[in-house]
Amino acid sequence: MQRLYNFAFFDEASKREIRRAIVKGISVPGYQVPFASREMPIGRGWGTGGLQVTLAIIGADDVLKVIDQGCDESVNAVNIKKLVCATTDVETVEDTAAATIIQSRHRIPEEPLRSDQVLVLQVPTPEPLRSFEPSEAKTRALHAEADYTGAWLGLFDRIVRFGEGSTGADHPCLVNGRYVMAPSPIPRFDTTKLDGSEHLTLFGAGREKKIYAVPPHTRVAPLDFEDRPFRVEDFDGLSCRLCGASGVYLDEIVDEATGETVHQCNDTAFCAKRRERAAAGDETKGE
């Protein structure tokens, strides 16, 4: 028997459930909207939340880009792309500018996104107060009362222990002056890209059954203290060994044989595009 999949894998009732949550998420920026997360043909924790959001919004005319830790070709990104393509036949690209939907884990692309693009972020732990309060019922009450003592205590604890208030990634942010939100495990470098952005960002947490959103032109303020301001990762004086880009998020690579440390762009599509342009420029000059 030949099996027919519905367009975008889900039945229409499942899409309605996710779409209702998306609309509420956009309407109350930063608030985690509970939804009936579906079983997916990939394991929970592998991007099922982002995948459900993508499948609920994607259409035949969309162009999809999926990245994992800045890379279009990692196992997670490739498998998600395969599933979406198998059930939608949409075009996939690596060029950020050519995509209409960008699903990502751990990064926001270097190339600034436009208002006609949607960024979907996969979220493992959507609750910024979870390490402070294990009870879901209690964290919901804390959000209701805008009691974010736990988030502030977490930062204070880091200052006491490490002398630095900033987290490694997933730095909690105050959205639209009301909800403290986990921006997913993006580096601090990317957190500032959410503030007043041109594009809509949707966050999907499949295991935790939450969807939330940051609309365009919305204030997203990383939590910090007056005397310990929020700081992004410092790449001053460093540039990509491949394309020469500076002022971007760089990976540090240590050659174990020589002990030499080099840096290169974390966003592989951005790096490749720069190199292609440079090569094209060289060819033009040579003509």
């Binding site: 367009f7 919004i57 939608t88 036949d89 209701a144 009301r178």
Partner: protein, 197 residues
């Protein structure tokens, strides 16, 4: 193999139109040819209903005939205006008070339980015109200020009169017979423009 039903694609495009309208409150989006039923009849209000309402949610509609049609078509359960998750307000202006004023604002623990209200207008426009009331929208999704015009200002007076305290509140979608719509989420601040009519 993918099942490619025309209706599935129509609803997907309609949803993206509505989603973009919520992401940019106060801008005019158009459902165009996606606002038709299976028989090809243009019906933007019912398109919104079909997008979001099903057996998992409740709805309220003051027009009994329309309410019956929605219940039969979507299998959704009817509820009182203060309990329903979706409120459908057909074009009759007098229905606005009953539908919008009493709609659920949600709770502080569950603000998502605030109602989504579909208001059918005579006309929704991105430009001023004779007989239209103008509104300025500010808040998340808006860079400076967005402006749009509708033939009635009753929805705004009733919304203002609710005095909802954010994050409690209702979402509104104003749609006209041509499928032009504007979304006004609870996070938006709406001001009636002086001399906009």
């Amino acid at each position: 193999m993918i099942s490619n039903d025309v209706e599935i694609h129509r609803m997907q495009r309609a949803f993206r139109t509505v989603m973009n309208a919520f992401a940019q409150p106060g801008t005019i989006a158009e459902l165009r040819d996606d606002a038709v039923d299976a028989a090809g009849a243009r019906d933007p209000l019912m398109t919104l209903v079909r997008l979001f309402v099903d057996q998992a949610v409740t709805f309220y509609c003051c027009d009994d005939a329309l309410a019956e049609r929605i219940a039969v078509e979507t299998k959704a359960r009817r509820a009182s205006q203060s309990e329903a998750l979706f409120v459908v307000v057909p074009a009759a202006a007098s229905a606005c008070e009953a539908g919008v004023g009493e709609a659920s604002a949600g709770t502080l623990v569950s603000p998502e339980k605030g109602a989504t209200v579909f208001v059918e207008c005579g006309r929704v426009s991105a430009t001023p015109d004779e007989g239209l009331a103008g509104f300025e929208v500010q808040g998340p999704g808006v860079r400076d200020v967005n402006r749009f015009w509708t033939d009635s200002d009753e929805w705004e007076r009733v919304r203002e009169g609710r005095c909802d305290e954010y994050p409690l509140g209702i979402e509104m979608i104003l749609v006209d017979g041509e499928g032009r719509l504007a979304a006004v989420p609870r996070s938006s601040s709406v001001t009636r423009m002086e001399g906009g009519r």
